[in-house]
């Protein structure tokens, strides 16, 4: 785990979402946001906890913007 990650602030109000049909395993999300996204052996994303901690929000936004097939998104968590 890198210093950026912290379990304590996972009450933040954003969730990482993936359009699984659009996703074709380019893997940029895991490069830009390794704290939240791993890849399986075929390069498709694995997200163990979709909640985005506040301190990762900027990085998450960057990863969303970088997805070449627009499959990654940020959803607002419901209260």
């Amino acid at each position: 785990m890198t210093p950026r990650s912290s379990r304590t602030s996972r009450t933040a109000g954003h969730l990482l979402g993936i359009d699984r049909v659009a996703c074709d395993g380019r893997g940029l999300c895991a490069e830009l946001l390794p704290e939240l996204v791993e890849l399986d052996e075929w390069g498709y994303p694995v997200i163990h906890d979709a909640r985005v901690p506040a301190e990762l929000l900027t990085h998450a936004r960057r990863a969303v913007a970088a997805c070449p097939v627009l499959a990654l998104r940020l959803d607002r968590a419901r209260a």
Binding site: D19, R20, V21, A22, C23, D24, G25, D40, E41, W42, G43, Y44, P45, V46
Partner: protein
């Protein structure tokens, strides 16, 4: 045995009466507590419109084009849950569609893509007008402007029968909306609700990414209710006889009856109607009991769970208690596996089928599921390489929650429960090669024939 009372029928549901004050009507409880299959016990054949109306009278359709909240209340009060596999509360689904703006659409799901299930086919054969009544009532409940009935292309006789039934109702003038009958490719994931919506919108019968869910934006962009045919048949009876009658079968936390399909090592395989909460062992007895000592039971279908037989027979058939045992009702499927059969080989065959049937749209179904099926084939064939079991367990664990639909989740559950329930067989296959049962006659009815690769999705 209670006879139905057509003369006491539509008393209450079209008025805004609090549900708790509704009278308990004498409902159509037939022999063995049958409700949906009552007519079959009376005549041994399908019920035509005249017989149907003689038994139940006309469906108590509420007035007007607006959604009908009393009917939705009644379904909520009854505690009806979806009989297609997810067991979601039907009243809540009706409400979420009714509360959207603008006219809605009702999709009646008669696809029954689960190969081990025959209950929807049987119901549509024996009591088509109960399903069509339920469709009309659901349409009235949510304020729908269109009703679509989806049937599989592989059941041409059934399609003809339903077209005739719809036409007969049209001549008799008993439905406000004409039911449009559609014939879709019969693949495993084609019955998924987003597949139906996509097909009805002119696309392929493959699942779509959500959101939006059909209740938000479905057929023609309208709020869309997708319900299984059995669910709607129950709704047709709740509308007539009320929630208290519905709850007089089953248990408070699992009310009503449900259709089950029993196959495998039982003396008389077939479709039965049971009160929810009936122990699995008692359901097997309805099918003549085991024809051979049982090793395990597949509960729920190809997306279901293997349970050891001694555990399975004691579990009441209800969502909560099956969940506590690590299973679910699915589409009401039970397959009894006899001692001597190889559960790993059976599972490998089903996984092969599921892999071939997937829509190949998402990573887990394009790569993960075929890889799991291949690993399972190696295990079943007793040709494991050194890393097989670790690799298989890791791959099985990475399938759930990562597809647009629940296809990889279902396959993962089947594989994981097989590894647990047949743990002794796993050791045998790992160390000594395939068990004698691995080359025996298959127990689970896995369809051969062409799949989506050959037949396409349109």
């Amino acid at each position: 045995m209670n006879q139905p009372h057509p003369d006491t029928l539509p008393a209450a549901l079209t008025r805004a009466v609090p549900v708790s004050t509704l009278p308990v009507h004498a409902g159509p409880d037939g022999p063995y507590g049958s409700r949906l299959l009552h007519g079959w016990f009376a005549t041994g054949g399908p019920a035509g419109l005249a017989e149907h109306l003689g038994r139940y009278g006309q469906a108590p359709l509420p007035d007007g084009k607006r959604p009908s909240m009393p009917l939705i209340h009644a379904v909520e009060e009854a505690g009806l849950t979806g009989r297609g596999g997810a067991a979601f509360p039907t009243g809540r689904k009706l409400r979420s569609v009714a509360e959207r703006r603008g006219p809605a659409v009702v999709v009646v799901n008669g696809m029954e893509s689960e190969p081990a299930s025959q209950k929807d086919e049987s119901l549509l054969h024996l009591a088509p007008h109960l399903v069509l009544d339920g469709s009309a009532l659901a349409a009235a409940a949510v304020g729908a402007a269109a009703v679509h009935l989806c049937l599989p292309r592989s059941r041409a006789d059934q399609v003809r029968a339903l077209l005739a039934a719809v036409e007969e109702r049209g001549r008799a003038g008993i439905d406000r909306l004409p039911v449009q009958v559609h014939v879709l490719p019969h693949h495993y994931v084609s019955s998924e609700e987003t597949s139906l919506v996509r097909w009805l919108n002119g696309g392929e019968a493959r699942p779509m990414a959500t959101p939006p869910r059909p209740f938000e934006k479905g057929v023609d962009g309208r709020p869309t209710l997708v319900d299984n045919v059995e669910t709607l048949a129950h709704l047709a009876l709740i509308a007539r006889y009320g929630p208290a009658w519905f709850r007089s079968a089953g248990r408070p936390d699992a009310p009503g009856t449900t259709l089950v399909t029993v196959s495998g090592a039982v003396r008389s395989p077939g479709v039965h109607e049971i009160p929810l909460g009936t122990p699995v062992g008692a359901v097997l007895e309805l099918s003549g009991g085991p024809s051979w000592p049982l090793a395990a039971v597949l509960v729920g279908g190809f997306f279901g769970s293997w349970l050891p037989a001694d555990q399975a027979v004691r579990v009441p058939f209800s969502k909560a208690e099956l969940a506590a045992a690590g299973a679910g009702p699915g589409a009401g499927v039970l397959v009894a596996l006899p001692h001597g059969a190889c559960g790993l080989t059976e599972t490998a065959r089903v996984l092969d089928y599921l892999a071939a049937q997937s829509a190949r749209q998402c990573g887990p179904c394009r790569f993960g599921l075929p890889a799991v099926a291949e690993d399972f084939r190696l295990l079943a064939g007793g040709r494991p390489d050194g890393g097989l079991m670790d690799r298989l367990r890791r791959r099985v664990g990475l399938l759930p929650g990562r597809g647009a639909c629940r296809h990889p989740d279902g396959a993962s559950r089947l594989a994981a429960t097989a590894l647990a329930t047949f743990a002794d067989d796993v050791r045998h296959h790992e160390r000594l090669g395939p068990c004698p049962g691995a080359t025996g006659r298959p127990v689970i009815p896995v369809p051969g024939g062409p799949g989506p690769e050959q037949e396409g999705w349109r």
